[in-house]
């Protein structure tokens, strides 16, 4: 099953990469600053959170005194959450948005979520490389341990992609899914230790946080970039299994409903 899908993706790689490029170009076509906006948006968000939490509310990270610590902590969680959110949010509308194309052209539909994911990765790569440059300038690069972020990223991408495709397929049949995902993402964001650390939470809340699959991922990034700590793999494994499971469910659902989807668009 996944073999035919992989083969279809490979055969249409030209179309997928071309679409990513075109979408990127089209997004900033009529803007003066172009791709700068990709950077400005998270930058604005980070500035707001830093000012509000670090300066005004005097949020401090326990055990660290660097002036940049909170910003780095924030970036580590926020930028990766941004990737997760973008894949999920665009994934859930990918089939609806491309309904016109789906109805008129015959091509493997799996290309569409692939384009969405790659697009999100491109945006993420831009902002994240700026983050890395910032780390280098402030001499806060954690060293080779940074490579540990790659497997974490992989798990996160798989998790987001699985969820995104499931939401995308369901959204064609039940538009409620799209509305629900948007609300869910808001709660999820604040329920994940991104702008605060779990250490600052009351003890009663902590076990609940562990139920959130995004918690160990965010903590792993923060560990790597703020403390230079190896991720706690024992907390990552369950998320990886969950992500793989979601991807399988997503592919099954997609296979089962791809034909019917055209009828509903």
């Amino acid at each position: 099953m996944s073999l035919t899908l992989t083969r279809a993706l490979w055969r249409y790689r030209g179309f997928i990469l071309g679409s990513v490029k075109r979408e990127f170009q089209a997004r900033y076509r009529n803007s003066l600053l172009g791709a700068t906006w990709t950077v400005l948006q998270p930058l604005a968000m980070i500035t707001v959170y830093t000012v509000v939490f670090a300066e005004l509310m005097r949020t401090r990270l326990p055990g660290i005194d660097s002036p940049y610590a909170y910003s780095i902590f924030l970036c580590a969680g926020l930028l990766t959450w941004g990737l997760f959110g973008e894949i999920l949010q665009r994934g859930q509308t990918v089939f609806l948005d491309n309904g016109n194309m789906i109805k008129k052209l015959n091509f493997p539909r799996i290309c569409l979520p692939a384009i969405t994911v790659i697009n999100a990765l491109v945006n993420f790569a831009i902002t994240f490389s700026l983050f890395l440059a910032f780390l280098a300038l402030t001499h806060s690069l954690p060293g080779w341990i940074i490579l540990y972020a790659l497997p974490i990223l992989l798990v996160q991408i798989a998790f987001a992609t699985g969820l995104g495709i499931i939401a995308g397929v369901l959204n064609v049949f039940f538009r409620d899914v799209g509305q629900f995902v948007n609300i869910l993402l808001q709660f999820w964001f604040w329920f994940t230790p991104i702008i605060y650390s779990t250490a600052t939470l009351p003890a009663a809340a902590r076990p609940w946080m562990k139920l959130n699959p995004m918690t160990p991922l965010a903590q792993a990034y923060q560990g790597i970039f703020v403390y230079g700590k190896t991720p706690q793999w024992s907390t990552i494994w369950p998320v990886a299994v969950l992500a793989a499971g979601l991807c399988v469910v997503a592919l099954l659902l997609f296979r089962r409903r791809a034909g019917e989807m055209v009828d509903e668009l």
Binding site: F15, N100, M101, K104, D176
Partner: protein, 408 residues
């Protein structure tokens, strides 16, 4: 290559009474199906030989577009089988799924990639695509700024940049202006000569008759009839005028032509004769010869008003001349059942060489759509020869004179 085989094809859309019942059907494991199936297409069987051109006609909602979509692979059949040998290029409705924010060029590249072309091939074909679409500098503008005609031109250029084994065109060409229509049909004919199989949906009688070898008439999701385009289109035309109490039948005449007869039968044509000046049946006619069309009509019911019309059509089914007694200001009024009348139209056959058909209509008013007593396509056929006049081209003889003045 280029063969298309369709057997037992059908398409049903699922209809749910509401979203909750769809959810129930999805998640309740042992639940019974809660949807009703709405069949838009059923029991479709046909076979296209490689290189054949087939036109599909039918009223709106007959299932033509759904059929093409399934052949093009965008809609999945509910049952039946489609076997397609070769590369398919499809133009389903407008725009080929263009992305409005991308430029024409980007869309052309994307379309080419989806047709399975590599970037190098597209780059090689691009000048040709641009030249054929004739949209000039617009090629680098976003597609949302295009007119529908421009979108169609670009879509057609991309879809046909490389000769496909099977070309599927759904109405799309009707959007273009007549110049582009001619150009596109020229390209389609060229492909046909090189062996492309063509499947065309069109309401344009001329397009189907001139391009297609065969026509398929669809009605309410089934194939009603298939065969020679002119016969099928005559039948379709009769079907369109169909009202209550109407029957359609087709008869094969002695000379092998098929005549299509439809109507309420409140009046009927008893006999049709085309006579020349010596009162002999005119199968063959000289250019300019005086002809008389004699039609004997019987009223089968009390008719307040009766109009007889005739229409001459050329070999391709194009109307050459038509007139009726309403327009000649001689309608008959108050006929009793059993009354018989003989009409005699006389006219000179100022026609070009070739064969012509005569269609007749008995109706209450000017148009047979209003009340169609009898409509008879191909009521008779005659051939025009030119032995007496100068040799000319075209379907009518205008008898031009020439005076030439030399300027010293």
């Amino acid at each position: 290559m280029g063969e298309v085989r369709v057997s037992g094809l059908g398409k049903a859309y699922k209809q749910y009474p509401g979203q909750w019942s769809r959810l129930a059907e999805w998640i309740l494991p042992a639940g019974k199906p809660r949807h009703t199936e709405h069949w838009v297409l059923k029991d479709i069987d046909f076979h296209l030989r490689a290189g054949e051109a087939v036109g599909i006609v039918g009223a709106n909602g007959a299932g033509k577009s759904t059929l093409l979509k399934m052949l093009a692979g965008t809609v999945r059949p509910s049952c039946g089988e489609i076997t397609i040998g070769g590369r398919v290029a499809a133009m389903l409705e407008l725009g080929m799924g263009f992305h409005p924010d991308f430029t024409g060029r980007q869309n052309a590249v994307m379309g080419g990639q989806l047709l399975g072309l590599s970037l190098e091939e597209i780059a090689r074909l691009m000048p040709q695509i641009e030249a054929f679409a004739e949209i000039g500098e617009y090629i680098d503008q976003p597609v949302r700024t295009y007119s529908s005609g421009m979108q169609m031109r670009l879509a057609f250029s991309v879809a046909t940049a490389q000769r496909p084994d099977i070309l599927i065109v759904d109405e799309a060409l009707s959007v273009g202006d007549s110049y582009f229509q001619h150009k596109s049909f020229e390209r389609i004919r060229e492909f046909r000569r090189e062996g492309t199989t063509l499947l065309l949906v069109s309401h344009d009688r001329y397009a189907i008759q001139t391009v297609c070898d065969r026509a398929i008439l669809m009605e309410a999701g089934r194939i009603r009839m298939q065969g020679d385009p002119i016969e099928v289109l005559d039948y379709y035309n009769a079907m369109m005028a169909e009202h209550n109490h109407q029957r359609i039948r087709q008869e094969t005449l002695a000379d092998g032509h098929v005549t299509t007869i439809s109507g309420t039968a409140e009046a009927s044509i008893v006999e049709v004769r085309l006579l020349n000046q010596r009162d002999l049946p005119a199968d063959t006619v000289e250019v300019g010869e005086l002809l008389r069309l004699q039609v004997r009509v019987r009223a089968n019911a009390a008719l307040p008003r009766l109009v007889l019309g005739f229409l001459l059509k050329d070999r391709l089914g194009q109307a050459i001349y038509g007139i009726n007694t309403h327009r000649l200001e001689q309608p008959l009024e108050h006929l009793a059942p059993g009354d018989e009348v003989t009409y005699c139209f006389s006219f000179p056959a100022r026609l070009g060489k070739g064969s012509y058909s005569v269609s007749l209509s008995l109706s209450r008013a000017d148009s047979h759509i209003d009340k169609n007593f009898e409509w008879r396509d191909n009521a008779l056929i005659f051939h025009v020869f030119n032995t007496g006049k100068e040799d000319f081209v075209g379907s009518s003889w205008l008898g031009a004179n020439v005076t030439i003045t030399r300027h010293p």
